[in-house]
Symmetry: C3
Amino acid sequence: MKSYRKELWFQVPSRRGFINITPQVEQCLQESGIQEGLCLVNAMHITASVYINDDEYGLMHDYEIWLEKLAPHEPVSNYQHNRTGEDNADAHMKRQIMGREVVVAVTNGRLDFGPWEQIFYGEFDGKRRKRVLVKIIGE
Amino acid sequence: MKSYRKELWFQVPSRRGFINITPQVEQCLQESGIQEGLCLVNAMHITASVYINDDEYGLMHDYEIWLEKLAPHEPVSNYQHNRTGEDNADAHMKRQIMGREVVVAVTNGRLDFGPWEQIFYGEFDGKRRKRVLVKIIGE
Amino acid sequence: MKSYRKELWFQVPSRRGFINITPQVEQCLQESGIQEGLCLVNAMHITASVYINDDEYGLMHDYEIWLEKLAPHEPVSNYQHNRTGEDNADAHMKRQIMGREVVVAVTNGRLDFGPWEQIFYGEFDGKRRKRVLVKIIGE
């Protein structure tokens, strides 16, 4: 069994944003030399997500509106977590809806995707450097 | 290390619906001959889910009502994504709540489940043939 | 390839609650002797979650309030599932938001975590003994 590990770093300039990280994950897979296995991609921070969906600008706008409706940032004082001096309680909730991680099949040395699947980093408390972990195991 | 891959195809006749796909995944596991490992089951489409929960008719009805409340289909014009000519923006949201994939332990050649765990395909933009990927790795 | 399996049992004295189970999972990993691989941790019950987030008391309070808002326990009669004699339909929904499972990378014999990642058992229908499955594969 082979294993491969890499950290990817991202800095989203605004509080929230979405980045298509599929090319970086594909490069990891090539570097790994793994042909058959599983590829785990997870946010290493608890106010961010890794998820798979469509690379369509309007949809990302809709996610932003929708997540803010389900878990509003303000009023910041509505959340006990923010009494610790943080203002990011909503980010801990948005991340649960969008998820921490994806596991992708590796087949014939490729990410085994349906036609529109793309991997995204979802940032909900940005303006600083944060990490995504890529771990691939297989043969 | 062994690996196994199969695509399962489903066509839900209505826009939304839930199908218990546990028997098909169990058959994949038998075909694979894998005794110990991990079994990934994921929707290959971004408007559908694979999730694990109860095979109880009333619950599926409740999920339908609940998801429609959290991410309503209409008004279709409320979503920027639908300006692309689609009317399925809500399906991209419902799928995030229910999830893209499950990873199930394989022990002694069986799906290692608690008493009520069953694998479902959740369709949120149906009336056409769509795929689920089963990937199993182990020994 | 090595594989390891263990069930962890928990009993939450109230209907809902959150338990940090990271120490138990770390102990499993030590027992497994696995240095490189993947660690799956999943609820074996369909009214409970395993998720990764912050071990901060205020946040757990906020999750409780937030989940109850998105999927209220009462009125119990609002859910068809509860006509089976259960009163836990809301728990099946809360569990979908928080998720069934996490997959954690294993690197150099350690759970490969970011700075604040901790594994939690989320109970939404407690007052009885319930199980979490830990399955680790690798070398």
